[in-house]
Structures are given as structure tokens and as C-alpha cells.
């Protein structure tokens, strides 16, 4: 600031070096402060906005498609290498770390090799009986690591490849080996050569089915461990299968050993029921595909079948119970493909996914639940014949004209797609496509069901019932408080109701769950009578009051009537509740719950949407009340005075002048209340059963997005699909409330500007 022009007072020199220094210091301080405050302010605002971006950052990886690259080992790209060992490959797999591969040849050679160099680590020759050759191959499932070789003498050998990690000198060394889960001796399956073979089962109970076109036999093996000696004893039973009537190409047995699926020539498929082991029945022979079946495999868990054909179609099938209660093999969905013949199909070990390689050398990755093709990329020439996936689904090994290629696959979240999140999905074992949220289960081959629909529905249902209660109460209350109530009373009532906004919702939830829910269950008729009785009582009292002589009416001036009503309402409520048992006895035969369930067929949960409606309604009343009251109170007084002066009654003035003017404000109040109801967590968590069902029934519970996050987030594995879907749920909540609130805020600002001009 320049002071040169100011009149100089002799004995007050502003220009001494000290004063100059002081001024400089002050100017500096000012600068520093502006920069500091600017920085601080901006960073706080950024920190707040960070929420949005962070949620997005966690959600986006889910929607990224998969990627495939050559495998990099020690900073070197792994080049294709010659297939280790001789002969034709029957089976190929990798261990957990994708460091060691296994290859089984048609000569009975089992070769373990390094997946990065092709170097043979260990080679084992299966001990075939004299004169026998390998005629068929079968696998239990990818994740069981068990497979069987069918021999020309009607016997089969069952193997399991196992790996042991050791840490000599702190470095991991994996030792591969072969085990014989059903014993080292060959198992007699059929009297003829095993041209076809299938094996399935789990811990302790296995079955092999094999033979040729004319003679197909099944052997059921159950293992029991002798409690005293620890020896494993085998118990076997055999049965002959009926003639299938189609030319067998490949057979698959479900792990529960109850169903056999046979792929035949020219797209035919036969379904055999083995539930009665002595008398297998052919239940279905159907035309499953319009052309030759090229691949025929069971998905993880063994409940669903994947079928690929020469035209390049891949479809999923599983058994569905029809109206008669019969199991029918049903085509569930078909996948987007390249329309070229599928050469080989590999099943993921831990997810409901698979990979295909087709005649054009294109690698495709799929997820069945989400029905998505997450990747389609040409990785091989036309003659690729075999593909296998590592257990972690992070690597694929492709055999192509005597060479092996190791690829790195980045496919973190294939189970998510728009349709799996928001659409109906036909899950395994379900009779029809459904919306289901079931994020986890005890078993490993479980199909996660990530439909957000039941949660979104539950959220809106809870909000809807809360709004039904809260909106009329809050708006009517606000109208009265702002327009009719005497100012002295208004100044007391308003802060009192606003105080309720600060009431922790955990308390409301606790009261709703532990007090209100049982109370309502006991006095259900009374609650409904109360809803009817209160308005009637108010009207009756008001009418009676209007009939009173003036002397009495004038005792209570206008604007105090609300207080008069308090005892009336309390009395009405008490009366309704106290006649509740009598009503129950006369109308509902003593138990309204039974009546609802048995006579009307309406399910009743103790913690239901009605409890939520009341408790959450209670929580949002103050929000709506406060904003509505402000909006109505802010309507310029001269508008209503004008109307009154023209002879309108106060009520006419209110409905025709005040409320239309304030309606945007009321609307924004409802929106903000709605936003609060949607995001409320504790009340819903505590006062509902938290079952993710889609049913608008007022007597049943729900699970909301917010409550779902609170329940499942702590147990969710970081970075997993489940974790990210919970983030998505949070993001949806965030966006919804943000949009609703912004809309309300903009409307409110408009309203303010409008009044400014009046």
C-alpha cells in the first residue's frame, strides 16, 4: 500500500526502516496466509471429492476386459518350445504356481516339465498290464487332479498328480509326483476294450463307466477306511448300461454319480439316470447341436455341461426340474463365439469359467454365470489342438503343431457383467432365471450370485414404506407449524423436532428391532386400528370443539390446537391398542398372524417392512419437516395477506397460494428425506431379517444396499470381485443420494431466487 500521498505528520514517521520492515513482514505474512489458506482449502475440497474417485477406482477394474500376453520369466519372454516327450497328448495340466506342467501321452508316459522351458523334470511310465494299450482317457475334474487311462483289456488305471513345496535354502522347490487314489492295481471295468471311458466322484466314492459301443459297463467303488488298521478297503459293484441308441463319442459322469451324459454322432446327446445303480434308465435322447459335437465337458462343480460344435457354437446345459418334477437336460445359454469350429475347451479350476481355442487359433475366455466373453484374441495358428488353464486361471498352455506356448492371462473379474448385476440370471440348479444375491457359501465350487436387484429392490422398498409414513406426517406437521401455529409455540416445537434429526439411528434401530417388532406382532390388529382411529378421533374432537360454546373455545386461542390434540391422540392410541386382543379374538380367531399366513397366504416376519416404515419414517420426519417448514415459512407474507383480504379462508389461502409457491421447496424436502431413507444403514440392519428377497409384502423383511455393505464388507477379501461389488453398491448409493440431493438443492436455490424477486 502506498502511503506517499498521505500528509506527513512530523513526529510520526511511517518510513523508518523498522516500520518498512514491519510492513514488509506483514505483506509477506498476508501472502503466505493466502497461499496457505488457498492450498489448505483446495486440498480439503479435493479430499472430499476423493471419495467419488476412489470408489470409482475400486469399481472400474471389474469392467475391464481380460488381457493375454506371452509369459515373462526372469524378464524374458517365454518362446514356444517343443512338446516334451513323444506321442500324442491325452491330457495336460499345470500346478498352482504354473511353474510345472504335466503331460500324459497315449503311450502311458506321464511327463512333468518346466512350463517356461519345456525341460523334463520327471518322467513316469504307467505300468500297463502286458499286452495292453491305452485306448481311452478320462478326467474326474480339473481341480481334483485325478485322471484315468482306459486300456484295451477292459481295465483302467487311475492316477492323481500331486505337488509338494519344499523350501531348501529359503527357495521354493516344487516336487511333482503321481499318486494312486484307487490303488495301483488296474481296475476291471468291462469285458471289452475301453474305447470310451468316464470317471467321476469325490472323496471315498467313485464310479467308472467304460466299454465300447455294444457293451458299456459301470463300476461303483466306495472306499472305507478301516478304523483300526487305517487300511483303505474298496467295495465295488458293477452294472451293465442299456443300449444308448446313438454312436458314442464322449461320456461324462456327474460327481454325484447319478447322471451320465453321452455325446453322440451328429449332435445327438443321451442322458442316463444312474440313481438306481442296478437299473440305469435312459431319460432323454435329444438333438443337442445342429452339427458335430467337438467338445463336451463339465463345468466346475460338475453340474453343468459345456458343449461346443463344429459350427463354433458353445452352449451350457444343465438338468432342470420340469412341471412334472422330472429332470430335463435343458439348454441354458449359448455364448458369443467366433463361428469357427472349437478345437479344445479348458475349464477353470476355481470359477465358473472356461477357455476355448478354435480352428482359427483364437483364444476366447468366458464366464458362464455372467454369460460374457471377456477375451477374444488370436494367439495361435490354425492347428492349435489343446489348451489348458492353470489353477489360478492366470496362465494358459496351448499345444500347437508339436510346440507348447505359455501365455499369461489377466482375468480378474469375469463374473461381473451388466446382465449378471442387474438382470435375471439362470443359476445352476434353479428352475428359471432369477434375481439372487448370495455372495458366499461353504463349498469351493459354489456359483456366486451377484445380482444387485434384490438389494436395490430392498432399498427402495424400505425407503418407500418409510416415506409413506413420514411424508404426510412431516409435511402436514410442517404446514401447521409454519402457517397456523403461534410463534411462541413454533419456536419451541421446531427445535424440538429438529433435535430428533440428531438422534443416533442405532437407537431407533434397536428400539425398532427389540421393542417395536415384538410389540407390533402382539398387537397387530391394534396397529391397524390406530392408523384408522387417530384421524377419526382428531376429526371427531375437532367437530365437537366447533360445537362448543365460544367461552370455552376462546380459552384456547388459535394456533394452540395442536396441544389440545395430544391427549386426544394418546387416548385414541391407547384405546386402539387395548381393544386389539378383542378384535383378534372376534375377527381373526385369536391369532392374526396365523390368519394372515394360513387364510391369506401372506408370509409374516417379526422384523418386517412395516417396522422399518415406522422406525425409518421416524428418522426422516425431522429432515422433511424442517425443510418443508422453512419453505412454507419463507413464502412472503403479503401473498397470503392479499389472498385473505380477498375473502379466502385460511385453508383456501394455504392450498391455493402458499403451497403452490412453496411446492418446489416441499418437493426438495421429500427428495432429501428420500435420500436419507435410501442410505440409512443401522435401522435396516437391526430391524429387518436382512434376507435379500424380492417381495413387496409389507409383512416381510428385505436387505438393503447399505445394510448389505455393513454385513458383508468386513468379511470380504480385499481386491476380490465380491469386494469390488460392495464398492459398486457404495458407489450406487453415493451417486443416487448425490443426484437426488443436488436436484433438491438446485430446486431450493431456484426457489430462493424466485422469492427474492417477489
Amino acid at each position: 500500500m502506498s502511503i506517499e500521498n498521505s500528509s506527513v505528520i512530523p513526529d510520526l514517521d511511517f518510513n523508518t526502516p523498522a516500520a518498512r520492515r514491519g510492513r514488509k513482514l506483514r505483506a509477506l505474512k498476508d501472502k503466505v496466509a493466502s497461499v496457505g489458506i488457498g492450498l489448505g482449502g483446495v486440498s480439503v475440497i479435493i479430499a472430499i471429492l476423493l471419495i467419488f474417485f476412489y470408489l470409482l477406482y475400486e469399481v472400474i477394474p471389474m469392467f475391464r476386459s481380460a488381457e493375454v500376453q506371452p509369459w515373462v520369466h526372469n524378464d524374458q519372454v517365454v518362446e514356444p518350445y517343443a512338446v516334451p516327450g513323444a506321442g500324442k497328448t491325452l491330457y495336460m495340466a499345470m500346478e498352482e504356481q504354473a511353474e510345472i506342467g504335466i503331460r500324459v501321452t497315449d503311450q502311458g508316459n506321464i511327463i512333468f516339465f518346466s512350463t517356461t522351458s519345456g525341460e523334463v523334470i520327471k518322467s513316469i511310465q504307467a505300468s500297463l498290464p502286458v499286452g495292453a494299450t491305452i485306448t481311452s482317457f478320462a478326467m474326474v475334474s480339473e481341480n481334483s487332479r485325478m485322471f484315468a487311462l482306459g486300456l484295451s483289456n477292459g481295465q483302467a488305471l487311475v492316477f492323481k498328480h500331486t505337488y509338494k513345496s519344499t523350501y531348501p535354502d529359503g527357495k521354493r522347490v516344487i516336487l511333482p509326483n503321481i499318486a494312486y487314489p484307487l490303488g495301483e492295481q488296474p481296475i476291471d471295468v468291462a469285458s471289452t476294450a475301453l474305447e470310451h471311458l468316464t470317471i467321476s466322484g469325490s472323496e471315498g466314492s467313485y464310479a467308472l463307466i467304460g466299454g465300447n459301443q455294444e457293451n458299456l459297463q459301470a463300476i461303483f467303488i466306495s472306499q472305507t477306511e478301516n478304523m483300526f488298521t487305517g487300511d483303505v478297503e474298496l467295495e465295488e459293484s458293477t452294472t451293465k448300461l442299456p443300449d444308448l441308441g446313438i454312436k458314442i463319442k464322449k461320456m461324462l459322469l456327474m460327481p454325484d454319480l447319478a447322471w451320465l451324459f453321452v455325446a453322440g454322432e451328429s449332435g445327438k446327446m443321451a442322458v442316463v439316470n444312474l440313481r438306481n445303480q442296478d437299473a440305469p434308465v435312459i431319460t432323454q435322447v435329444l438333438q443337442a447341436s445342429s452339427s458335430k459335437i467337438t467338445t463336451f465337458d463339465l463345468l466346475l462343480g460338475g453340474n453343468a455341461l459345456l458343449l461346443g460344435n463344429a459350427e463354433g457354437d458353445v452352449s451350457e446345459w444343465f438338468l432342470v426340474r420340469d412341471d412334472q418334477g422330472e429332470w430335463q437336460m435343458t439348454k441354458i445359454r449359448s455364448f458369443d463365439t467366433g463361428n469357427t469350429s472349437v478345437s479344445d475347451l479348458a475349464i477353470e479350476h476355481r470359477r465358473k469359467g472356461f477357455a476355448t481355442i478354435d480352428a482359427a487359433g483364437e483364444l476366447r475366455l468366458y464366464n458362464t454365470t455372467a454369460n460374457v466373453n471377456v477375451l477374444a484374441e488370436k494367439v495361435a495358428q490354425a492347428n492349435a489342438s489343446m489348451i489348458t488353464l492353470a489353477p489360478r486361471a492366470n496362465a494358459a498352455l496351448i499345444e500347437e503343431g508339436g510346440k507348447l506356448t505359455l501365455l499369461h492371462i489377466d482375468n480378474e473379474h469375469p463374473e461381473v457383467s451388466w446382465s449378471s448385476l442387474w438382470g435375471k440370471v439362470w443359476y445352476e440348479g434353479y428352475e428359471e432365471p432369477k434375481y439372487v444375491w448370495q455372495s458366499s457359501a461353504a463349498n469351493n465350487d459354489f456359483e456366486p450370485k451377484f445380482s444387485l436387484m434384490p438389494l436395490a429392490f430392498g432399498t427402495l422398498k424400505a425407503a418407500f414404506y418409510a416415506m409413506i409414513l413420514a411424508t404426510p406426517l412431516a409435511i402436514c406437521g410442517a404446514i401447521y407449524t409454519a402457517y397456523f401455529m403461534v410463534p411462541t409455540l413454533r419456536r419451541k416445537v421446531k427445535p424440538f423436532i429438529e433435535l430428533m434429526e440428531a438422534l443416533p439411528t442405532v437407537i431407533l434401530g434397536f428400539l425398532a428391532g427389540l421393542w417395536l417388532a415384538p410389540f407390533m406382532e402382539e398387537n397387530l390388529p391394534g396397529i391397524f386400528v390406530t392408523l384408522l382411529m387417530i384421524p377419526l378421533a382428531v376429526l371427531a374432537f375437532a367437530y365437537a370443539w366447533a360445537q362448543m360454546p365460544k367461552q370455552i373455545r376462546w380459552l384456547v386461542p388459535d394456533g394452540w390446537d395442536a396441544l389440545l390434540l395430544i391427549p386426544v391422540i394418546m387416548l385414541a392410541t391407547w384405546f386402539s391398542i387395548s381393544i386389539s386382543p378383542s378384535i383378534e379374538l372376534t375377527l381373526f380367531d385369536g391369532n392374526m398372524r396365523h390368519w394372515l399366513t394360513n387364510d391369506l397366504g401372506i408370509a409374516y416376519d417379526q422384523r418386517n417392512a412395516m417396522v422399518i416404515g415406522i422406525a425409518m419414517g421416524f428418522a426422516i420426519i425431522p429432515t422433511i419437516f424442517s425443510i418443508t417448514e422453512d419453505a412454507i415459512f419463507a413464502v412472503p407474507k403479503h401473498l397470503s395477506y392479499g389472498s385473505l383480504a380477498l375473502g379466502a379462508t385460511p385453508w383456501q389461502t394455504l392450498t391455493r397460494v402458499v403451497i403452490p409457491t412453496a411446492s418446489p421447496g416441499i418437493f426438495s424436502a421429500v427428495m432429501i428425506g428420500m435420500g436419507r431413507a435410501v442410505g440409512e444403514t443401522m435401522i435396516v440392519l437391526m430391524a429387518t431379517g436382512n434376507t435379500p428377497i424380492m417381495d413387496a409384502n409389507i409383512f416381510e423383511g428385505m436387505r438393503t444396499l447399505a445394510a448389505n455393505i455393513a454385513v458383508e464388507m468386513p468379511e470380504s477379501e480385499v481386491g476380490s470381485t465380491h469386494y469390488r461389488i460392495l464398492f459398486l453398491a457404495a458407489f450406487v448409493l453415493f451417486m443416487f443420494t448425490f443426484a437426488v440431493n443436488t436436484m433438491a438443492e438446485v430446486i431450493r436455490q431456484r426457489l430462493r431466487n424466485k422469492y427474492g424477486s417477489l
Binding site: Y480, V493, P535, K550
Partner: protein, 562 residues
């Protein structure tokens, strides 16, 4: 003056009345809710009389005794449907919920009793209540006192007698003694051994840190081992003292006959308090009430949080809220000052203002998700990698804890502070600022000496509202740091005294946990009501002070604007 229904409706006054009814309903709901919590919460501490009587069902009689917790009327028909043989001559039957206690004997604390089967009701003065450290309350008749397994005194009969009074006085004395010894034990176990364990853990981390840094010099290792030996020796000594104390405390026992005739023996060490409610007069009951109330706010929880006090939860809540307000006040105020005083007012600031406003309406669980993902896993994980590598794989900050909970809540409440402060700043008349600038003050000086002091009540309001909101928020905390039972307080005598990485207990979560996750909800319910009451009181107090400050502020500037 009579008015016809039609005219009356035409005048519109029924609608006005209905609107008035809405206000009345809201008020009744609010008052009713507060009343419900208060009555249920406060009545829990009152020593209720123990009723004893004969209960006859299907011709079989037994003696039962307990506190009447609840009495209601049920339809006789419903009872008959439930399989209870009861004459259906009356429409309703009275039913009592009795707290019969003695969980170790009967299997459950509560039992329903129908009035018409419950005869010969009396309140014998000799019946006593013992609050125990496990298995809940015991109700029964004192039979004998034992010292080191030997019986030293005995009374029989069910009427009050002189020898009974004497025995009771003796028991009282011995319970007092056991409680004193217990305090000594607690001091050793919690503080002294706790401190040693803490130091041992720090030594372990130090050693591991040295190993990680590849320090080969043996001197620091030797020093650590030396100190470890000292600590081990000290630990041995304490262990011995503890052993002695335990033999002392386990010396006495009592036997009591519970309703039904069974005689049980309990060690006095397991007793928290004994009293005979039926023999107490009102004054004694009030004293007892005060003692229980004090125990509730000052003691630690017992029996999976269903008994005892809630001190750790109060402490945790206060700590968390304090830390949060330390964070939220400066940042909120700076952001508000920036937005109002420094930023160029235009479209962008308006946008930001709307965004900040709306963030206050974003569901709190969303903040919890953000806190867990960003603070705990991302920031915490990185902090652990950088500074606490020695403690790995156990996470230090990479797990929910006090600091992350405070930060998350600070983020949740910062919009409240910003909005309130901005409102305060906007109320200050322009003339004041201009006056200050005209006198030659810089902008910063104007801000510090004129604007902020005048806006300080608004800031206070904002901070208080933020605190009130934070104190009642539970959903986000469930993700970022609260636990049902924290082994120690986040503030203690061990360096660095305040443990930001620790998990803590919280009043709101306590309500949720005890009310819904507890194994014995029925027994815990009164305690939950009491906790809820405390929380409501704290929050109502905070809000009322905010409102008072706001009103005061308005009055003050009304004068200024003149």
C-alpha cells in the same frame, strides 16, 4: 353456535385440525421414544424385590423365586393353542416374566409364569441376590460360609433370625475382603504385567527391525536380551505375588439354597455384590441405585457385555470424537474461509458449495467403505510397509483402528463444519471488513482479528454439530475400527501413551452388539436401554448447546445489522 358438518368441511377447518394432529403425533412420538428409553434404562438399576411362590402346572408344584420383569395380558385361547392346559373360563390371562437367575442351575435366566398357577406369593426378607462374575445373578437363601473348604457357620430355615443376621454381616465382610484382593490382582494383571508384556513386544519388534536392517553388530542384540532377562525376572516375581493373591482370594466360599431346594456353592471371589432387596428400605435402595449407576458408567463390562459397566465404550467414544474434532476443526474452517473469503466467487465455487452441501447427505456407510478401502488398506498398508516392517505380517496401521475411525468420521463431518462456518462468515456485515481494511490492516489481519473472532460462535456450532453427528454414527465405524470388546483402552501408561492403531469400543456399536449379537439378549436388554439413554443424553446436550449458540449468535448480529 352450531355448525353443520357440511359447512364445517367447507370452512377447511377439519384439514387444519388434521395438520395439527400431525404435529401432535410427531411430538408424541418424540416424547414417547425418549420416555421409553429413559424409563427402561433407569429402572434397570433399581433393586427389584424378589417374589417367591409355588408354581403348579399339571398338578406338579415347585417353588420359584425371581424378579418380576414384565407383566402382560395374553389371550387365554393363544395359550391353549400353545399347549398349556388352562381353563378357558376367562378371556385373558395374566402372565409374568420372571428373572429367576441361577443360570448354572436352571439353564436360563428367565421364565414365564402364569398368574393363576403362581400361588402363595411372598417376599421373604432372607432371600438374597448375588451378582456374580459368571452365570448371572444368583437368588437364594444363604446356608453356610466356608473357609478353605471347612464350614465355619451355618443357618437353616427360611425366616429371618439373629444368627442369620450375624452370618450375613460376616459374609458381607468377607465379600468386601475378596473385592479388595481382586483390586490388587487387577492392578498387577492389567498394569504391571501389561506394561511388561508391552515392553517385551517392543523389544521383539526392535530386534526384528535390527534383523531386517541387516545389523550384524551384536551389541544391540545383547542389550535387548539383557533387558528381556530383566523383564522376565520381574515377571516371575509378579507371577509369584499373583499366585499368593489367588490363594487368598479363593479362601472363602458360601453355600446357598436356590428355589427348588438345590444347594449350590460359590466362591466369594466370583461375587461382585450381595444384597437382600426384600429387606432393604427405600433409602438403602436409593444408595444401591446410585452405586449401580456409578458402576455402570465407571466399570468394565462383564459376561460378554451383558453385565457391568460401559466405561471402555464411553472412553472410546470420547477419544474418537476428540481426535475427530482435532482434525475436523482446522480443516473445515480453512476450507470455509477459502471458499468464502479467498476463492473467486463464480460458477465453480457455487458448484463446490453444492457438492459440499450434498456430501453431508451421502449415506454414512459410503464413508465407511471409503475409509476401509482408502485409509485402512491403502494408506495403512503403505504406512506399515514403510515404518512398521518389523511387525509384519501382523498389521499395525493396515487394520481398522482408532486413527482411521477418527479420520473417516472427520471426513464425514467436515461438510457440516464448512457449511456452518460459511454461514457464519456470510453473516458478518461487509462494512466491518471494509472498516478493518481501510485502517490499513492486511486481508489476513482482518481475517484473524475481525472476521474469525466474530464467526467463532458459528464455527463452534459447526463443530458441536459435527461432534453430535460423529458420536451417534455407527455404520461407518463398524468397518473402520470398533470392536465389541477391546482388551485395553487406547490411552494408557505405556509409551507412546496414545495408541492410534488400537481398536476401540463405542457406545453406539455397543448398543448394536449387545442388543443383537449377544448370546443372552433378554438379560442384556436393560443395559442396552441404559446405554441408549446415555448416548441420547450426550447427543441432546451437544445439540442443545449448538442451538443455544446459534440463537445467541443471531441475537448478536441482529444488533450489528442495525
Amino acid at each position: 353456535m352450531n355448525i353443520s358438518v357440511k359447512e364445517w368441511f367447507k370452512s377447511g377447518s377439519p384439514w387444519v385440525w388434521l395438520n395439527a394432529g400431525a404435529v401432535a403425533i410427531s411430538l408424541i412420538m418424540v416424547v414417547g421414544l425418549l420416555g421409553l428409553i429413559a424409563v427402561r434404562g433407569l429402572s434397570h438399576f433399581w433393586p427389584a424385590d424378589i417374589v417367591q411362590g409355588t408354581y403348579t402346572v399339571d398338578g406338579q408344584s415347585k417353588t420359584i423365586a425371581g424378579e418380576v420383569v414384565e407383566t402382560n395380558e395374553v389371550l387365554t385361547k393363544q395359550l391353549i393353542e400353545a399347549g398349556i392346559k388352562i381353563p378357558d373360563d376367562t378371556e385373558f390371562s395374566t402372565r409374568h416374566l420372571l428373572k429367576v437367575g441361577n443360570r448354572d442351575v436352571y439353564g436360563s435366566d428367565f421364565s414365564w409364569a402364569l398368574e393363576q398357577f403362581f400361588t402363595d406369593q411372598s417376599k421373604p426378607a432372607m432371600l438374597f441376590t448375588a451378582e456374580r462374575r459368571e452365570w448371572g445373578n444368583l437368588y437364594g437363601y444363604l446356608r453356610s460360609l466356608k473357609e478353605s473348604g471347612k464350614e465355619i457357620a451355618r443357618v437353616d430355615g427360611y425366616d429371618q433370625s439373629a444368627e442369620y443376621i450375624a452370618l450375613w454381616a460376616e459374609l458381607d465382610k468377607r465379600v468386601e475382603r475378596a473385592l479388595k484382593i481382586r483390586e490388587d490382582i487387577l492392578v498387577i494383571e492389567k498394569h504391571e504385567i501389561g506394561a511388561i508384556n508391552y515392553e517385551l513386544e517392543r523389544l521383539r519388534l526392535k530386534e526384528r527391525g535390527l534383523q531386517l536392517d541387516n545389523v550384524t553388530d551384536q551389541a544391540p542384540y545383547a542389550a535387548i536380551n539383557q533387558r528381556r532377562k530383566e523383564l522376565d525376572a520381574a515377571y516371575e516375581g509378579m507371577q509369584q505375588r499373583l499366585l499368593d493373591l489367588y490363594t487368598q482370594i479363593n479362601r472363602d466360599a458360601l453355600t446357598a439354597e436356590v428355589a427348588g431346594g438345590k444347594v449350590v456353592e460359590i466362591q466369594l471371589a466370583k461375587i461382585v455384590r450381595i444384597f437382600r432387596p426384600n429387606a432393604m428400605n427405600t433409602g438403602e435402595k436409593m444408595l444401591h441405585y446410585a452405586a449401580k449407576l456409578w458402576e455402570f458408567v465407571s466399570d468394565e463390562p462383564r459376561e460378554a457385555n451383558t453385565e457391568g459397566g460401559i466405561f471402555p465404550a464411553i472412553f472410546g467414544t470420547v477419544m474418537m470424537v476428540l481426535l475427530m474434532s482435532l482434525l475436523v476443526t482446522p480443516f473445515g474452517v480453512i476450507a470455509a474461509v477459502y471458499l468464502r473469503e479467498y476463492a473467486k466467487q463464480g460458477f465453480v465455487t457455487r458448484l463446490i458449495r453444492i457438492a459440499v452441501n450434498n456430501l453431508a447427505g451421502v449415506p454414512s456407510i459410503v464413508y465407511g467403505v471409503f475409509g476401509l478401502g482408502f485409509f485402512v488398506y491403502f494408506l495403512g498398508g503403505n504406512i506399515d510397509d514403510l515404518f512398521f516392517a518389523a511387525a509384519k505380517p501382523a498389521p499395525t496401521f493396515g487394520t481398522p483402528g482408532l486413527m482411521w475411525a477418527s479420520l473417516t468420521l472427520a471426513l464425514l463431518t467436515v461438510p457440516v463444519v464448512i457449511v456452518a462456518t460459511e454461514e457464519g462468515l456470510s453473516r458478518i456485515p461487509r462494512a466491518l471488513r471494509e472498516g478493518s481494511l481501510a485502517l490499513g490492516a492486511t486481508k489476513f489481519e482482518t481475517l484473524m482479528k475481525v472476521v474469525l473472532p466474530m464467526a467463532s460462535p458459528a464455527m463452534m456450532t459447526g463443530v458441536i454439530l459435527a461432534i453430535a453427528r460423529a458420536a451417534g454414527e455407527v455404520a461407518p465405524l463398524m468397518l473402520v475400527g470398533v470392536v465389541k470388546l477391546a482388551p485395553s483402552l487406547p490411552l494408557d501408561g505405556n509409551y507412546p501413551f496414545i495408541h492410534l492403531d488400537q481398536k476401540f469400543m463405542h457406545l453406539g456399536f455397543h448398543i448394536y452388539d449387545v442388543g443383537f449379537q449377544s448370546p443372552n439378549v433378554e438379560a442384556a436388554r436393560p443395559l442396552v436401554y441404559a446405554t441408549a439413554l446415555l448416548l441420547v443424553l450426550v447427543i441432546a446436550l451437544l445439540n442443545m448447546s449448538a442451538i443455544a449458540i446459534r440463537n445467541h449468535l443471531r441475537e448478536k448480529y441482529k444488533a450489528l445489522e442495525m
